[in-house]
């Protein structure tokens, strides 16, 4: 591997990420599955790094899931998105930050469409106005939340309490970065580092002391694939894609996986359990899985937040071996304790995957 070659490509895919003043929209999936990630994004940005991130409780889904499952037409999706932009315009913001990768992809697609076909934009404006009486301007800058963390990665590194380093060996942790398909595959220029060798997560990992693993199937989809997952009979296809990725990364013995997409951490994490239970195969050390994190979770760990506050107990694959490796303290008794130490009850242990 020649890093100069990658640097040359990264240099060609730099995008402008505003430093401050964002209108932030949440992700349908993430706020259900990893609610702490979005909470900690806001917490870090506002409380640690003192940025202005505005959130409006009236925003809706972007309808991307429906769009990619072929149930929402593009025209409808555009109008829904236009309403979000109207909320932003009303709040006086020009920079739009999306928590969800699919939203980010859809916003990119819509903004590019409007640029190429101004009459479509006009029609959307008319439709929105007719329906809601709102007017809007498309954002000046569109960023994915991971773009913003990438932008401030060094500030986080400067405040870090832990680094992505094996405390026993001093070696950097081997990290697999997995980028959501809708981040840059549709518009390589909209992603940091492009689509082939995306840099957005790599930049974070490098800044926080880890080492990125480049494995053959790094480009491959996590397996979510919307339609493939939603129908039970098709889930074998979804899981097969995940397995392909794990088979490919296995020889590199990664310590962890970092993701920037709502579906990816969920499927990379849960399918490890399904693969273990159906085929008896596990990919981590000693029968464990490979822990999968959102970038906010990793940022939170690096900054020293409590793992259980970051929501790591909702992961299927246990994070404790990794926390031990980094040297992050945790209280095992608090793992399944809810608010006010209320016992949330323990999940049943899988028969194959070690937890």
């Amino acid at each position: 591997m020649k890093i100069e070659g990658k640097k040359r490509i990264w240099s060609e895919y730099q995008k402008e990420i505003p430093d401050d003043k964002y209108f932030y929209v949440r992700s349908c999936i993430r706020q259900s599955f990893f609610p702490a990630s979005e909470v900690y994004f806001l917490k870090i940005m506002r409380e640690v790094l003192h940025r202005d991130i505005y959130e409006n409780k009236h925003h809706t889904t972007c309808s991307g899931i429906g769009y990619h499952s072929d149930v929402v037409p593009f025209e409808t999706a555009m109008t829904v998105v236009a309403r979000q932009f109207a909320l932003m315009t009303e709040a006086g913001y020009e920079n739009y930050a999306a928590s969800c990768i699919t939203s980010f992809g859809l916003y990119s697609e819509i903004i590019e469409t409007w640029k190429k076909f101004p009459d479509v934009l006009q029609k959307v404006r008319d439709n929105l106005y007719k329906a809601t009486g709102r007017t809007f301007e498309p954002p000046k800058h569109l960023a994915h939340a991971s773009d913003i963390i990438y932008k401030v990665r060094n500030e986080i590194a400067a405040r870090a309490r832990y680094r992505l380093v094996n405390r026993y060996t001093g070696a950097p942790l081997r990290v697999v970065e997995h980028i959501g398909c809708h981040y840059a595959k549709m518009f390589p220029s909209k992603g940091v580092g492009g689509a082939e060798y995306p840099y957005v997560l790599t930049g974070m990992v490098e800044a926080w002391g880890g080492e990125v693993v480049d494995y053959p199937e790094r480009r491959h989809c996590c397996g979510f694939g919307f339609r493939q997952y939603f129908i039970q009979a098709n889930r074998g296809y979804s899981a097969a894609n995940t397995r392909k990725k794990f088979e490919s990364m296995e020889p590199f013995r990664p310590d962890m996986i970092i993701t920037n997409c709502p579906g990816c951490p969920y499927f990379l994490d849960r399918w490890q359990y399904v693969i273990a239970e159906t085929e008896g195969k596990t990919y981590g050390d000693n029968g464990y899985g490979i822990p999968v994190f959102t970038y906010e979770e990793v940022a939170g760990l690096v900054l020293g937040y409590d793992p259980w506050d970051l929501g790591l107990q909702v992961h299927q694959v246990s994070v404790e071996p990794l926390l031990d490796k980094i040297g992050i303290p945790y209280d095992p008794t608090r793992k399944y304790a809810g608010k006010d130490q209320k016992d949330l009850s323990h999940p049943e242990s899988p028969s194959v995957l070690k937890v």
Binding site: Q232, G236, A239, R243, V274
Partner: protein, 117 residues
């Protein structure tokens, strides 16, 4: 084992690294003109059996070389050996014998008797 209501799909792509090359080696050793194929499809287009079945010599012989061996023995049993393909092959491949050789190799392979050459 938990029943999730589905099983994990097996890959259908050719994994050349894992694929068996034994049949390919046997076929090339016994009918060297197999190497001459350029995949033009003349044989398949003129095939008497191809009129009634999906018999496709062009694809079969490539599958041999890629180690895609499932059902190849039965596939070759569709050939009537009429020899038209041999007459039209622009590269002079001994197609009739190629079919017979593939069949032989597959029979041996399926019986586990195909010795490494």
């Amino acid at each position: 084992m938990v029943n999730f209501g589905f099983t994990i799909n097996k890959s259908t792509r050719i994994d050349y690294d894992q694929a068996s090359k034994d049949v390919s080696r046997y076929v090339i050793a016994h009918e060297p003109s197999a190497l001459l194929c350029i995949g033009c499809g003349c044989c398949t287009a003129t095939c008497s059996a191809g009129q009634f079945t999906p018999f496709n010599l062009r694809r079969i012989q490539l599958q041999v070389h890629r180690g895609e061996l499932a059902r190849l023995e039965q596939e070759t049993e569709k050939c009537m050996l009429c020899g038209k393909c041999q007459m039209v092959c622009p590269r002079g491949v001994n197609t009739r014998h190629l079919v017979m050789t593939i069949h032989k190799a597959m029979t041996l392979y399926n019986r586990g008797e195909l010795k490494d050459l």
